[in-house]
């Protein structure tokens, strides 16, 4: 395609392009409203999400500073879980390892409660 030929084509099409541009219609009010509603909605979602995940207060008090070396309140929760698990082990008596599952020889309601509590505390880490 030679530049001269392309220039001829462009000149031949100029009136068609002009006619098509003149008939252009803009977006409807409904569409613009929906776009703006999306903008507001996206921002609202972002504002809510961080607050929903936050379950610890801002670490500015003396308690938070005291606990900071061990990971703050989360560290306390994990230590507590480990302590509870160890307490349960002491209460459970004999233990056996079957494959990949650690089971108690003498299952008791308090032992089950201890395991549940351990996993509940572990879930707080996430």
């Amino acid at each position: 395609m030679t530049p001269h030929r392309d220039a001829e084509d462009e000149a031949a099409l100029a009136a068609f392009f002009a006619a098509a541009r003149a008939e252009e219609e803009g977006p409807s009010v409904a569409l613009l409203s929906a776009i703006l509603a999306d903008a507001a909605g996206i921002h609202a979602d972002r504002a809510v999400a961080p607050a929903a995940r936050r379950f610890l207060p801002a670490g500015s008090g003396w308690g938070a500073r005291l606990l900071a070396p061990i990971g703050g309140w989360r560290g306390i929760a994990v230590l507590g879980g480990c302590a509870a698990f160890g307490f349960w082990l002491g209460l459970a008596g004999n233990l056996s390892l079957d494959g990949t599952t650690l089971t108690t020889v003498a299952a008791s309601e308090s032992a089950v409660t201890g395991v549940d509590a351990f996993f509940d505390l572990a879930a707080l880490e996430q």
Partner: protein, 228 residues
């Protein structure tokens, strides 16, 4: 179609659709009041403001870019409803990326055109007949005898003829023509939008113009051209 009924057909649940009709109308009316003309922030600045919660920035971005995105989609797809879906989805992606926008990476307009172009091409591929031309979106007939009506009719006929010819082009050629001759984007920007080289864009445009000129040549006499 009210804002409440505006639900783009992209398999994504619309957000806040039911409660936005009245609020959206109020938002648009505020948007049309002219802002301070002496302080026109850049698109990147507006996007940063929006990311910080400034809804006025979203209104300005919408006013600047939604009409152009809609115009491109309308011409690519030949249908108002699908063009509205593409426009809404394109702007939605802009709102989502706002907190992560890097001003030095691309111009907002270029990015929007690219997203809209890809959505249009995806939509065309989903259709069974990709050469389908505008149908129920044809312009209404002008039924008056006022002076100038014949001129308008002639312009309408030429526009319709071009629409048909454009619909017959391959997708990327049509896109290149629309971006160049309707959106007035320079070739380097078109290259960025189409993810192609400038030379490839120039070739696309030349082939597309040749194709259009050949298709329209037999109709020039009936469309009022008096070529020498």
């Amino acid at each position: 179609m009210t804002a409440a009924a505006r639900a783009p057909a992209f398999g994504r649940a619309p957000l806040f659709r039911q409660e936005t009709a009245a609020r959206g109308t109020a938002i648009v009316s505020r948007m049309t009041r002219s802002p301070d003309a002496d302080a026109e922030p850049s698109d990147a600045a507006l996007l940063a403001l929006y990311a910080d919660g400034d809804q006025a920035a979203a209104r300005m971005l919408t006013a600047r870019h939604a009409p152009r995105v809609f115009a491109l989609a309308r011409r690519m797809l030949g249908e108002v409803a699908e063009a509205e879906d593409v426009t809404q989805e394109t702007m939605l992606r802009l709102w989502k990326i706002a907190p992560d926008w890097q001003a030095d990476r691309a111009a907002v307009a270029t990015w929007l055109y690219r997203v809209a172009s890809n959505l249009c091409i995806d939509q065309l591929r989903r259709r069974r007949n990709p050469t389908r031309s505008a149908s129920d979106d044809a312009l209404p007939e002008i039924a008056d005898d006022a002076p100038g009506a014949e001129h308008r009719l002639q312009a309408d006929d030429r526009a319709a003829a071009l629409r048909e010819a454009l619909a017959a082009l391959p997708d990327r050629q049509r896109l290149a023509i629309l971006l160049r001759h309707f959106e007035d984007r320079p070739n380097p920007e078109i290259a960025a939008i189409l993810d192609a080289s400038v030379e490839a864009v120039e070739s696309l445009l030349a082939r597309a113009r040749r194709d259009l000129a050949q298709r329209l040549a037999p109709r020039r006499a009936e469309l009022g051209f008096t070529d020498g």
